[in-house]
């Protein structure tokens, strides 16, 4: 069970995933509570033009900077756009997502062959993570964790009761920007190694799965981190075993995501049992918004 990870590239992949687990657990709790699933999904797509411009300007070195700039720019844009106005939040998010991604596609499509660029953006190159990338990820992990801990109390207050937070003197707009930028940083840290498919899963699934077993936010974050570690280990092992022993090419990013989703599905019954037990006191809540069918 450990033997595959003696290969340096497997060990590096697992290290990268472990680093990401540290931040994605807590961040996904906020993504869950603030219902930022769509925003996270948008951010994974919107950094694409940044990646392309960065690559064209500075090669592999520029890629990271380009992604960072694009991520922060879209975090700002999304924060501004989702503050009221007649274009509803989700429509604005969808438009930013498609527009930014299309800019990236338009740029790469001017080159003769762009499909492999796009593919590596989707899947990442988890098995070719370099020590330098791990160092960059580690630096971002530290920054994100510090920013998260520093802002945790205010962010929680704002999540739970925006009106109360504003009345207590917190600047809700800045807090929203803060959280969106943190999500963007996570995306930037992760996307090159693990690809968009895995990043969006890491941001959404852990807390949603953890929510099935606990109501407490801190526990949710911890359970989320553990789930990512487990799925990361299991997914790498699975894709290794599949390709070495069975000759099936199973992308590691996909298998990590599918294991995470499997954990979510397996935990659904736990939630149902817990709900049943509490049913004597709970009353079905009315939907908070009239027609918000989905998030």
């Amino acid at each position: 069970m450990i033997e595959p990870f003696t290969a340096p590239f497997m060990a590096r992949a697992l290290t990268e995933l472990a680093l990401l687990a540290l931040i994605c657990g807590p961040i996904s709790v906020f993504v869950f509570a603030r219902r930022l699933s769509f925003v996270s999904d948008a951010l994974t797509h919107t950094i694409f033009p940044g990646v392309v411009i960065g690559f064209l300007a500075g090669g592999l070195e520029g890629l990271f900077a380009g992604a960072l700039v694009a991520g922060i720019v879209t975090a700002v844009v999304l924060t501004l756009l989702t503050r009221g106005g007649r274009v509803s939040d989700d429509a604005a998010t969808a438009v930013v997502l498609t527009a930014m991604f299309s800019i990236g596609v338009a740029m790469v499509s001017r080159r003769s062959s762009y499909t492999s660029d796009l593919t590596s953006f989707l899947f990442g190159r988890l098995l070719t993570v370099s020590p330098r990338q791990i160092a960059e990820t580690a630096a971002l992990v530290v920054i994100v964790l510090i920013a998260l801990v520093a802002g945790a109390r205010a962010l929680l207050f704002r999540t739970f009761d925006p009106g109360g937070a504003a009345a207590a003197g917190f600047r809700v707009g800045w807090l929203d920007l803060w959280l969106n930028i943190l999500v963007a940083l996570v995306v930037v840290a992760a996307v090159r190694a693990v690809g968009t498919i895995l990043v969006v899963a890491l941001l959404i699934v852990p807390a949603a799965a953890a929510r099935m077993v606990t109501d407490r936010l801190v526990v949710m974050a911890a359970v989320g981190t553990v789930l990512i570690l487990g799925a990361g280990y299991g997914g790498l092992l699975l894709s290794w075993t599949a390709s070495i022993h069975y000759g099936v090419s199973l992308t590691s990013a996909s298998s990590v995501v599918l294991l995470l989703v499997a954990a979510y599905c397996l935990l659904i019954p736990v939630r149902l049992i817990r709900d049943r037990r509490r049913r004597t006191v709970t009353v079905p809540r009315q939907r908070s918004s009239v027609h918000e069918l989905v998030g």
Partner: protein, 250 residues
């Protein structure tokens, strides 16, 4: 004549868990009952049970002579305006026309009668001049009047109003009261949930004090007593001044 509503020893609630018990109520056509109680007392649940949307768990209930679920769609309903999307692109006239949907069906185009009924209903709530405006551009009180017009347009024999005076300006309140009196005059029975005792006293023939269960019911003067209110509102104290009652939260 069939009573608009009979509830005897009724419990209502979700998934087998009662939210409100011991409801005894009989409402004749043209009568008004006010459901009075604190927030979370079960007023909305009771209204939903009359609409057939929350099951009756025990006791016997009829709505317009039928089982509530069978009478579903026949009682008019005025929801609280703040549950509606103010940004939705519907005109005032379209909203009122929704009251006619049950008559004209879902597909047939609206006829002359329907359009006349819509204009008349808007006239009665004093908003004939606003027919073309978007619903969301109106004030809270005006929105409430539009929803009332929608209920009028459906010509119900039983009309349920959920907190119709919440956040309503004085002009709108007068207009609504006037229309409600007209409706009872023409034989429509009204169920109004409110936490305003003055409204209950002025408008209702019957008052039903509820909080988790029905604590008292009957004509306003006999029902809105200090003792009954204290029982309904729990620890709140009540002082009487000039014959008026003031509820003081503990």
């Amino acid at each position: 004549m069939t009573p608009a509503l009979t509830y005897s020893a009724v419990s209502v609630g979700y998934q087998g868990t009662p939210v409100l018990t011991h409801v005894d109520l009989e409402l004749a056509p043209g009568q008004t009952v006010a459901l009075v109680g604190p927030n979370g007392a079960g007023k909305s649940t009771l209204i939903k049970s009359i609409l057939g949307l929350v099951p009756v768990l025990a006791g016997a209930a009829t709505v317009l002579g039928d089982h509530p679920a069978a009478a579903r769609g026949r009682a008019g309903y005025v929801p609280q305006t703040d549950t509606l999307d103010a940004d939705f692109p519907v005109s005032v006239r379209q909203v009122v026309m929704m009251g006619r949907y049950r008559r004209i069906g879902w597909w047939r185009p609206a006829g002359k009668d329907d359009r006349r009924a819509v204009s008349e209903a808007l006239d009665r709530v004093g908003l004939a001049g606003r027919a073309g405006h978007r619903f969301g551009t109106l004030s809270g009180g005006q929105r409430q009047r539009v929803l009332l017009a929608r209920a009028i347009a459906s010509e119900p024999r039983l009309l349920l109003l959920d907190e119709p005076f919440n956040g309503v300006d004085a002009v709108s309140q007068d207009a609504i009261v006037r229309v409600l009196r007209d409706l009872t005059g023409s034989g429509t029975a009204l169920v109004i949930s409110t936490h305003d005792l003055q409204v209950a006293r002025d408008l209702a023939d019957l008052v039903c004090l509820i909080n988790g269960r029905q604590w008292a019911a009957g004509p306003p003067a006999a029902t809105l007593t200090e003792q009954n209110l204290r029982r309904t509102y729990g620890g709140s104290t009540i002082s009487l001044a000039d014959g008026r009652m003031v509820l003081v939260e503990p």
